[in-house]
């Protein structure tokens, strides 16, 4: 039997040379007459070990990493793929502390097999949640989600059950009482890649979650709105949607139940604002991605004015876990009101970055030091931005805060989509504050004045502060402008841009008076 060797296929592993590694292994094995099957698995999210190569043995899988294309001949010389005494040897993959210390729920299948293989997904307990949902009444599915305590993973943390109940209860005046499921896969926050990893490493989980959502609220049409910056994801989703259709998990008669659900994959066009749900809906309707006033909520009047569930990728994926394992099992992960797991993405200047899934409640410092191993540059860490480009910059004095929604809100920060970006002591926080305004000016949809004009004026005022012109006056002006943006903007873009700006000013004032 051929020896099974796993080489990840996701965008990050490929960016680090996984395709070339897979190719050299096939060629190297052939040259030595070794019978090898190279399987392109999903990534486990240990980016610092990518490309992470795994070999199936009788005692489980053993790993090597990070394997650069140039390392492969040396590996073969050391005895690979048999017992190999090599500096890149990591031993049994399940015993790598960085992975072993995680508690994976949503990412439990990531890396185990070929993510595009439907059979692989079924063999790993996939579609168990759907099986159960097919036997339940819509209200019972919604109740299960409500009881699980699942909160939206996109950033706003809104209880998913309440959203679904609203859509279930809403009357649709569309043709055939149509309602819609929309998956927000416009993961634009810098420092976040959990959605991408899920869609590339376990994409059927998202498909399953969307079908369950459709059954729960009575929707037979679903859309995935994927950002164009994720070409690998696009290929993976196109493939799994087509395979799920062939296997009758999607279509007019899901698993012979007589119920219908279809998924249409749509590609965004490079507008950050389309991650905001109403802007996303406008974009799906083929218009400029201008945000809408709320109310009405999308749950009542969403896509084409009809009741619509808009959920993030991880929220929809978690749905399949909730249904498969039961509401109580999901709820009992986590702390206080923050239920389930947290998927932190450790990025920026970090030695051991990647995706860390833990029960909610770990501290920033634990992540930085225990998982991250400090900065990549080896210099002291100075600022950590939590929650994407609209998130607060935290100084060391705040790193003992727990990463859950309430604890972060308590210090004026937010968890957002779980991005944690580390900067070392060479960072110029005045430039980071300036960038926050610059980004907002570039990406504002333009609908409301505080965001559209405020960000441009904010940029100008920060430039005057940096240049040392009427410093006190301009700092007061900037603070006033930030208040106007927070209180007066229609959505989070203008409303949160002041957070990185104000935190940079509050915690790193010395950078503004150089």
């Amino acid at each position: 039997m051929a020896l099974r060797i796993f080489v990840p296929r996701d965008a990050t592993a490929c960016a680090l040379g996984a395709d070339e590694v897979a190719d050299s292994i096939s060629k190297g094995a052939k040259g030595r007459g070794t019978d090898v099957e190279v399987i392109r698995n999903g990534s486990r999210g240990a980016v610092w070990l990518e490309p992470l190569l795994e070999i199936q043995t009788d005692a489980g899988r053993v790993a090597f990493g990070p394997v650069a294309p140039g390392d492969v001949p040396g590996l073969f010389e050391a005895g690979f793929p048999g017992e190999a005494d090599h500096p890149l040897s990591l031993g049994p993959v399940d015993e790598i502390p960085w992975l072993a210390r995680q508690q994976r729920l949503t990412f439990v299948r990531a890396g185990l097999g070929d993510p595009l293989s439907l059979e692989n997904y079924q063999a790993l307990d996939g579609f168990k949640g759907l099986e159960r949902a097919l036997a339940l009444e819509p209200q019972a599915i919604v109740d299960e989600i409500t009881e699980s305590g699942l909160r939206g993973r996109g950033g706003a943390a809104f209880p998913t059950g309440i959203k679904w109940q609203t859509v279930l209860d809403a009357e649709s005046d569309g043709e055939n009482h149509q309602k819609y499921i929309v998956c927000n896969a416009d993961e634009g926050d810098s420092g976040t890649f959990a959605d991408r990893l899920l869609m590339e490493s376990d994409p059927y989980q998202l498909i399953e979650g969307m079908i369950i959502a459709g059954l729960a609220v009575g929707a037979s049409e679903g859309f995935i709105y994927l950002r164009s910056e994720y070409p690998h994801c696009r290929k993976a989703l196109e493939e799994v949607i087509s395979r799920a259709e062939q296997a009758a998990y999607l279509g007019d008669n899901i698993c012979g139940s007589g119920k219908a659900f279809r998924i249409d994959l749509r590609i965004g066009a490079g507008a950050y604002i389309c991650g905001e749900e109403t802007s996303l809906l406008e974009s799906l309707e083929g218009k400029r991605g201008m945000i809408r006033f709320k109310p009405p909520l999308p749950a009542v009047k969403g896509l084409m004015g009809l009741p619509t569930v808009v959920n993030n990728v991880l929220s929809l994926a978690a749905v399949s876990t909730v249904l498969a394992k039961g509401a109580a099992a999901y709820r009992d992960f986590g702390t206080g009101r923050s239920r389930g797991t947290l998927t932190v993405q450790l990025g920026g200047n970090i030695k051991r970055g990647g995706l860390v899934e833990l029960p909610l409640g770990a501290t920033v410092r634990e992540l930085l030091e225990d998982f991250g191993g400090g900065t990549a540059s080896g210099r002291p860490a100075r600022a950590i931005q939590v929650g994407g480009p609209l998130g607060t910059y935290l100084p060391e004095s705040q790193w003992d805060v727990a990463l859950d929604y309430e604890a972060l809100a308590g210090i004026g920060a937010m968890l957002g989509h779980g991005g944690v970006v580390v900067f070392d002591d060479t960072v110029d926080m005045a430039q980071q504050a300036r960038f926050a305004m610059e980004f907002c000016a570039g990406e504002s949809c333009g609908k409301c004045t505080p965001c559209r004009v405020g960000s441009v004026r904010g940029l100008e005022v920060i430039d005057r502060v940096i240049a040392g012109r009427e410093r006190e006056f301009n700092l007061a002006l900037l603070d006033d402008l930030c208040s106007t943006m927070i209180d007066g903007s229609l959505c989070a873009m203008g409303g949160l841009t002041p957070y990185p700006v104000r935190s940079a000013l509050e915690y790193f004032p010395e950078d503004f008076s150089r």
Binding site: A11, T12, C14, A15, L16, V47, W48, E50, E187, G188, S190, G191, T192, F193, R196, F223, S228, E229, Y230, P231, H232, D264, R266, I267, G268, A269, G270, A271, Y272, S283, L284, E285, G286, K287, R288, G289, L303, Q345, L346, G347, G348, N349, I350, G353, G354, A376, S377, Q385, P389, G419, V421, V422, F423, D424, V427, Q432, F435, F439, E443, C445
Partner: protein, 159 residues
């Protein structure tokens, strides 16, 4: 000119045929044309407008709202340089200066030989091994000035 106008009409018609009737067909239609031609020529706008009962202004409004749609031809290769925070934390600002020097163009521009168009991007989801760039559909990680030069040498050799 006559023949290229005919073929443009054919491309537009085929895009419309694939997507007309769908919810929000305009973006897929524009993408379908751009995938074939590398941009959406100005002459295509009235054709789309007529078929979709939209005004030319509405189509212009949509095209200009999104960063990805182009009215002018792009270079043979499109390089997206990530300017977002996780890349900044690993030296993206310095890399950006190098890229602009090496290519001799700024963002939104195409080199004189038509080899490369340079675009900014705000996150490629590759945040734990930065700085990142995207060359067409390939992502590159931990890009240094030297690594960028190697990528460019490779593109130049291929053309």
């Amino acid at each position: 000119m006559q023949s290229s106008a005919v073929s443009l009409q054919e491309i537009v018609d085929s895009a419309l045929e694939s997507h007309l009737g769908k919810i929000g067909a305009l973006l897929p239609v524009l993408y379908s044309i751009q995938d074939k031609l590398g941009h959406v020529p100005r002459q295509a706008v009235p054709m789309i407008a007529r078929a979709m009962s939209l005004s030319r202004a509405e189509i212009h409004g949509v095209m200009s709202f999104y960063h990805d749609f182009r009215s002018e031809p792009a270079g043979e290769n499109i390089i997206h340089l990530c300017r977002a925070e996780a890349c900044q934390a690993m030296g993206a600002r310095k890399l950006e200066q190098h890229v602009i020097r090496r290519l001799g163009i700024g963002f939104g521009e195409t080199t004189a030989d038509g080899l490369v168009s340079l675009e900014p991007v705000y996150c490629l989801g590759n945040c734990a091994c930065t700085p990142s760039i995207r060359v067409n559909d390939d992502i590159h990680a931990r890009v240094t000035a030297q690594k960028f030069d190697e990528i460019m040498d490779c593109l130049e050799a291929k053309s």
